[in-house]
């Protein structure tokens, strides 16, 4: 992947000359390491600040699992369900089956009414729209524009030359459609939350 980016950089340099240099320098030398170090320091600080007692870990897990349910359901059953989860974990039945079960049931609860389905679609669109839009749309678009022959894992670049542009366009449009669904559904989701 870094080799691909290097190819993109060199192609950009060939096309735009010295004007690319500051941007490439900032991206490769300054922003990249600063970003990585900042992320690492933040994660370490976050981890150190956390209460790692057994009880605190269980409470965080309960809060996380409860957050998977729709807001209305949480308002009605949240407290009692948390207590059942607490007692289940305390009794030693806290394995991955518990997490999988809550994930499955919370998903089913979202699907039980129209508002919940819209909320779930919004969440899924926010989560997945980046795949067609960026990973399978914009990145292969940049690679094709740069003239690189690298195909990596980009679907469009494995197709016949005549199909590559239509598939890239389709991916970008699908991603944009999902993004617009996500953006339109967000106010209702925030209101419900």
């Amino acid at each position: 992947m870094s080799a691909d980016l290097a190819t993109v950089s060199s192609k950009a340099f060939e096309r735009w000359g010295w004007k690319c240099v500051p941007v490439i320098v900032v991206c490769w030398v300054v922003l990249w390491p600063v970003g990585v170090v900042w992320l690492a320091v933040s994660l370490v600080a976050l981890y150190r600040a956390r209460d790692r007692s057994e009880r605190a870990v269980a409470e965080r897990r309960i809060a996380r699992m409860l957050s998977w349910y729709p807001p209305q359901w949480r308002a009605r059953y949240g407290e009692e369900f948390s207590e059942v989860l607490r007692e289940t974990i305390r009794s030693g039945h806290a394995g991955p089956r518990l997490t999988l079960n809550v994930a499955r049931e919370s998903n089913a609860t979202w699907w039980q009414n129209a508002a919940g389905r819209r909320g779930l679609v919004t969440v899924w669109c926010w989560s997945l729209c980046w795949l067609p839009l960026v990973s399978q749309g914009l990145v292969p678009l940049i690679i094709k524009l740069s003239g690189s022959t690298s195909r990596s894992w980009f679907l469009a670049l494995y197709l016949a030359p005549g199909l590559q542009w239509p598939v890239i366009a389709l991916m970008v449009m699908t991603g944009l459609l999902m993004l617009s669904v996500a953006i339109r559904g967000t106010p209702a989701l925030r209101q419900a939350g």
């Binding site: 009692e80 207590e83 039945h93 089956r97 049931e105």
Partner: protein, 91 residues
């Protein structure tokens, strides 16, 4: 519902009771999926909370539905057992 037939119980007590008489340990998500459906169907109802626990009990409608369901199950079980024993008796 069979677990609630002997009296009100809260969620975790239901899980333990069902494990004892049915040999199946329900996961909390599954239990609350069922509780939600039974409440919406008017077959069970909540009682006053005990701290953070919420006990539930059968409604009259729920008791009647359970009675009808278990009677039907018993008829089917009796019939199956009779047929099985008759079939085993025939050489």
């Amino acid at each position: 519902m069979s677990s609630l037939a002997e009296g009100p119980k809260h969620g975790y007590a239901l899980i333990n009771d069902i494990e004892q008489f049915a040999g199946v340990r329900l996961q909390p998500g599954t239990l609350y999926g069922a509780v939600t459906r039974l409440l919406e169907g008017g077959l069970i109802e909540p009682m006053d909370t005990e701290g953070r626990r919420q006990p539930y009990r059968l409604t009259a409608e729920g008791a009647a539905a359970l009675q009808a369901h278990l009677s039907a199950q018993r008829r089917i079980a009796d019939l199956g057992l009779r047929r099985l024993s008759a079939g085993l008796a025939t050489p």
